[in-house]
């Protein structure tokens, strides 16, 4: 397994290197070149020249990539002239808020999806199973922005229970303290995740219910509920770890939309705002950070899977 882990880590490092190469390439595809695109249409040719020299855009491309990558390793992601702030510090401020939103939603989603999946597997092909399957299809096809809007209409205006806007505070603690305003954004992100997670749990539990160890436990007189909780769930939930890793890109995308719908001050909202005004340093920086987070996340999921399931042999 050690060999597998080493290979997996090396693979991830390679992908991160390649992602940074893609980002670097995009920087040079910017309309009018990076200097013009970043400084805007009103910059004078003198300013452009100064910017080009300062940022080494006059050097050979290979050298530029080296310098740019060196900056990256030192946590320097460039400067947003639109927000007049360092991209790295902008992200350092916003990323934790996005991670909190995602974590809360994942926890809520798992707490609901796993019991649902187990229920559906035990009562498969009954009316209850069909109804829940119908709902998961519906939520699977429902765009997150539509779901968010519908929740706002239903639970903020028709029934004035929750705030239609996410917490607007700058500090993470204050955001977490504002539970009422967090309900709808977390619910939106959780609901679209539940659909996939519960279907996965359902098939995983169904597969495990047919295993020999279940028959053995039943023959030994164990109660059904004990078999499900003590034996089946333990095995059935291992693949869910992988699913978590695989759904990271979708979760980041979902967070972007949910943050935009609810004005949640996270990284996705920042990305959207700066996409509209074409603030390229922020866009490139966030893209890179999200990609690295995704690669690291799926690496962690794979490691967790290897640890949890010793049956799997990695050649």
């Amino acid at each position: 397994m050690a060999a597998y882990l080493v290979r997996r880590v090396l693979q991830s490092i390679l992908v991160i290197l390649l992602v940074s190469l893609v980002t670097f390439t995009l920087l040079h595809l910017l309309p009018g070149g990076p200097a013009r695109a970043i400084l805007g249409p009103r910059a004078t040719s003198q300013q452009l020249q100064q910017f080009i020299v300062q940022n080494h855009y006059d050097k050979p491309l290979i050298l530029q990539f080296g310098l740019w990558f060196n900056d990256l390793l030192h946590g320097n992601l460039g400067y947003s002239y639109h927000l007049n702030e360092n991209v790295a510090s902008l992200i350092a401020d916003r990323l934790p808020k996005t991670i909190v939103l995602m974590l809360l939603s994942i926890v809520v989603a798992l707490l609901i999806a796993i019991p649902l999946g187990v229920y559906q597997a035990r009562k498969r092909n009954t009316v209850g199973d069909y109804v829940l399957t119908g709902f998961s299809f519906l939520f699977y096809a429902m765009p997150s922005f539509l779901l968010g809007l519908l929740l706002i209409i239903l639970f903020s205006f028709v029934l004035p229970w929750f705030s239609p806007e996410a917490p607007q505070s700058d500090s993470l603690g204050a955001i977490l303290a504002d539970g009422n305003a967090l309900v709808l954004p977390v619910a939106t992100l959780a609901l679209i995740t539940i659909a996939a997670f519960s279907r996965y749990t359902r098939s995983s539990v169904m597969e495990n219910l047919t295993q020999d160890y279940v028959r053995t436990a039943a023959a030994n007189g164990a109660k059904d509920s004990r078999i499900v909780v003590k034996h089946v769930l333990r095995n059935a939930l291992i693949p869910v770890v992988t699913l978590l890793g695989l759904s990271l890109p979708a979760l980041f995308a979902g967070a972007l939309i949910v943050e935009s719908v609810f004005n949640y001050p996270g990284m996705g909202f920042l990305f959207w705002q700066e996409a509209i005004v074409r603030d390229y340093p922020v866009l490139l920086g966030v893209t890179l950070v999200v990609a690295i987070a995704t690669v690291v996340g799926s690496l962690l999921a794979d490691i967790a899977y290897a640890v949890l399931d010793p049956r799997v042999k990695y050649a």
Binding site: F145, L146, A253, L284, T294
Partner: protein
């Protein structure tokens, strides 16, 4: 409750579908015929197909019967509730007739969604088949490209590309296809790895057939099940992506409409209770996406018949 149920053959939404009965003396049916029977026996598939056809008719034939002004705004007629002034679904915030706009908007959503899915499928299939067939370092390089692009969450990459290259409808198709061709590439590569060792491919090779012939004449046609099923799901995904980009204000450029930017226009009025600006486009997106998902599921079952008979 019995904990030891009969083995489910496959864990799938459409477990309810009856498998075609194989009577001993009837003449053997062709695989396509069997596949078609399974497809038609699936009620959800029929529902999906009917919904898709209805929407195509609604969007492309509807405007021929129901004429509305969708270019010039009419502020005097803005925000009319359904049923007033000859507007069955009311009007939006600049006075466009909602029902007419739903048709015109649906045209962009469907056109872009289907075109992007077709483009992504063609590129992805060729990429995956070439990588899988040639193997070795070509495969390694080609698949690392796929891994790299898959690592960047799609919506971020698409928004970045849309911000760099201001989108026209055509460009939007290319950009969405650029984010979508990775899945078919992976699937087809996997299939190719097993197909290339088959006798008929080896035979074609031995008779002097070149790589191009093997890929286009032998590998791709035999992976058609995987390709078609994935393409169907691609359409659903592409329609969702177009809607998301337009909703975020970076999709279909004005004066064109699509279901996503209709929704985005409606968001300003959630508080006023103008439901007719949100529910119709929202429902249209969900229905079309669910319909394409049903179609994909049914097609997968239909193609599995071919595998079962082999």
């Amino acid at each position: 409750m019995t904990i030891n149920p009969p083995l489910p053959e496959q864990v799938h939404v459409s477990d309810t579908v009856a498998a075609p009965v194989d009577s001993g003396d009837a003449p053997p049916k062709s695989m396509w015929r069997l596949g078609l029977e399974v497809f038609l026996a699936n009620r959800l598939a029929i529902v999906g197909l009917v919904v898709v056809l209805l929407f195509v008719a609604f969007c492309f034939l509807g405007p021929l019967l129901y004429h509305t002004e969708q270019l010039r705004t009419d502020l005097a007629q803005a925000n009319q509730p359904p049923g007033t002034g000859g507007h069955p679904l009311g009007t939006d915030d600049v006075g466009y007739d909602e029902l007419g706009r739903l048709m015109v908007g649906g045209q962009s959503s469907l056109e872009i969604g289907i075109a992007a899915a077709v483009m992504a499928t063609i590129v992805g299939t060729l990429w995956g088949a070439i990588a899988g067939y040639l193997g070795g370092w070509v495969d390694a390089i080609m698949m690392r490209v796929v891994d790299t692009l898959l690592a960047i969450p799609g919506l971020f990459l698409l928004l970045l590309l849309v911000a760099i290259f201001t989108p026209s409808t055509g460009l939007l198709i290319v950009v969405i296809a650029f984010g979508a061709w990775l899945t078919p590439a992976r699937l087809v590569r996997g299939e190719t790895l097993s197909l290339r060792t088959r006798e008929y491919v080896q035979a074609a090779k031995m008779m002097g057939g070149g790589n191009r012939r093997a890929i286009l004449k032998h590998i791709t046609p035999n992976a058609i099940g995987t390709i078609v099923v994935n393409a169907t799901f691609q359409v659903a995904d592409a329609i969702l992506i177009v809607a998301a980009l337009s909703f975020l204000g970076l999709g279909v450029p004005p004066p064109h409409a699509d279901w996503g930017n209709m929704l985005s226009d409606g968001t300003a009025f959630t508080q006023n209770g103008y439901w007719w600006m949100i529910l119709p486009p929202g429902l249209a997106i969900v229905l079309v996406v669910v319909a394409f998902n049903f179609l994909g599921d049914a097609l997968r079952d239909a193609f599995e018949v071919r595998l079962r008979r082999r």
